[in-house]
């Protein structure tokens, strides 16, 4: 009886404590940065666009060896056209590869992450590579009869600003589709270190091997660039520890060049239109 009385008191105390706790913590204030009426939320941008992003695997097969390249890509039309980097398909010597179909190319596979732990793979066909001015290539998904896929929307990269928040979705290190947040470091950079000179958007972002070809979304979920490369130093492939390694500098091909690339192909019904948010 005495024990039951103690248990009763304990229960009453527990209820009282919970009531006090609940009263004190019914609201948690979360700050959300609002810009021109739009809320930048990486989560929503990823949710909206993840099914338009592909992890790409390219396999070359010759008598001498089998070679696999990994990268990223994204869907630009409902009938399955996909943009990626030329170097994802051709390798690092993509500039000198001309427009010829790569020798010994066995297969290109694109895998979509369904967001529920499952994936769906498609065979892709190489349609075209851009000229040496931009590291871009166009692929086509082999879809079933009447099958459609979700395409991304684009924004004109010439409107990019310093410090703008971005979300990059890609396939770093071939580990599958993942999202990384960053900012635009420099909206317009001409890289004169290569010939011909190339235009890029500079990013402050964690870009790894395999992110190449992935879309870079702006705060409204529009593609503003295509992840292409990161700042490289020779130390990355050297044992010379005296060489300074650069960190976190990523390069993206501007969406304006994607538009130019697609317009040069004259493919019926395929064009890149820029979305505009009324401010």
């Amino acid at each position: 009886m005495k024990r039951l009385g103690k248990l009763f008191m304990l229960s009453a105390a527990l209820i009282l404590s919970i009531a006090i706790f609940a009263g004190c913590t019914t609201t948690v204030t979360e700050k959300v940065y609002v810009e021109n009426g739009f809320v930048y939320e990486a989560e929503n941008i990823a949710k909206e666009n993840i099914s338009s992003c592909l992890a790409i695997e390219v396999i070359y097969d010759s008598i001498l060896a089998t070679k696999t390249l990994t990268g990223s890509g994204f869907i630009i039309s409902e009938d399955g056209y996909v943009i990626t980097n030329a170097h994802v398909i051709y390798g690092d010597d993509w500039e000198g590869a001309g427009s010829t179909y790569p020798q010994n190319l066995k297969s290109i596979t694109g895998t979509i992450d369904n967001g529920d732990g499952t994936t769906q793979s498609y065979n892709l066909t190489l349609v075209a590579k851009y000229n040496p001015y931009a590291d871009l290539a166009l692929l086509k998904m082999n879809l079933g009869e009447g099958e459609t896929v979700k395409a991304v929307k684009f924004r004109d990269s010439s409107t990019a600003k310093y410090g703008e928040a971005v979300l990059m979705i890609g396939n770093p290190k071939g580990l599958g589709i993942s999202a990384v947040r960053g900012i635009i470091s420099q909206p317009s950079l001409t890289d004169n270190s290569s010939s011909p000179a190339k235009e890029y958007i500079l990013l402050d972002i964690a870009m790894n091997h395999g992110n190449s070809g992935g879309p870079v979304f702006d705060k409204n979920g529009f593609v503003i660039g295509v992840a292409a490369m990161r700042y490289k130093t020779s130390a990355a492939s050297s044992s010379d520890s005296s060489i300074d390694l650069a960190v976190g500098i990523g390069y993206a091909v501007p969406s304006l060049l994607v538009q130019k690339f697609i317009s040069t192909l004259n493919l019926e019904g395929l064009e890149v239109e820029f979305s505009v948010i009324e401010e």
Binding site: G5, I15, I18, T25, E30, V32, A160, K161, S185, L245
Partner: protein, 267 residues
């Protein structure tokens, strides 16, 4: 009686479980306007917009050996006094090695397409002990936009920060991160100078980033990038990411105002 107490106790425990399940706190979202008035919170884009024209990419040219050094500076006054670091002017240095001053020039970005105006600079002060330096833009016909100093709040660990830097001499670029640690003592890279009370920030710093201003979410200056942990100084190829050191605003104000450089700040 015993039976009723048992039932009552079980009933109370049941209520407790329901209370716990039901009191899931509701998140209240506080939307913060992008308005630049008052105490609005700035994101990187707004911080850049506010401070782009107050940031100088600095280039030093040495005629004696043809060496070029680059860094970043912050405009402190309308008549063009610029705060930077000794490293941004001399590169790797020791006090006794420096025999000549370089020819200094700078670029100030004026629009989002990266276009800039060129300016000439002269050395006003070099302080080897702190690693800080003051320059003056010598184009006297121009009026410049100084940064706004954060004099109300001291930096705290976990605070958001953004910077504009001339990393790798690629022109001004934006980076962001957080304040990682306060009160750090460190030997400045490539010198025998020990400095204390540094802030450690989780922000990308490369060659050329030194002298870049750190700005808080109100767009105000809270520090200046001075040094970093550098992979080149390690014995392995395991890269070091985002361990960057900076002086805070108190140290900056102290450096400027205890000297006699022709201007005062933060008054």
């Amino acid at each position: 009686m015993k039976k009723y107490l048992k039932i009552l106790t079980a009933f109370l425990l049941l209520i407790s479980v329901f209370c716990l399940a039901g009191c899931n706190p509701k998140a209240k979202v506080q939307y913060i306007s992008s308005s630049k008035e008052g105490d609005a919170v700035y994101v990187a884009e707004m911080i850049c917009e506010k401070n782009l024209s107050s940031t100088v990419s600095i280039y030093s040219s040495y005629s004696e050996n043809g060496e070029n050094v680059y860094g970043t500076g912050i405009i402190l006054t309308e008549n063009g006094y610029v705060l930077t670091t000794v490293y941004s002017i001399f590169g790797s240095y020791t006090e006794r090695e420096i025999s000549a001053l370089p020819i200094l020039s700078g670029n100030i970005v004026v629009s989002n397409n990266g276009s800039f105006v060129k300016v000439n600079l002269a050395v006003v002060n070099i302080d080897f002990k702190s690693g800080l330096a003051i320059l003056k833009i010598t184009d006297n016909d121009k009026v410049f936009v100084p940064v706004t100093l954060e004099t109300e709040n001291l930096p705290v660990v976990g605070e958001y920060t953004a910077s504009l830097v001339n990393a790798k001499a690629m022109g001004i670029s934006a980076v962001e991160g957080y304040i990682s640690k306060l009160y750090v003592t460190r030997n400045l890279s490539d010198t025998e100078i020990t400095v204390n009370n540094l802030m450690q920030v989780d922000i990308r710093a490369n060659e050329g980033s030194f002298g870049g201003g750190l700005f808080n979410n109100k767009g105000r200056l809270t520090g200046i990038i001075l040094d970093r942990q550098n992979t080149a100084n390690t014995s392995s190829l395991d890269p070091i990411y985002n361990i960057t050191y900076a002086y805070d605003i108190e140290r900056i104000i102290d450096y400027i105002n205890t000297g006699n450089y022709g201007f005062k700040i933060g008054a």
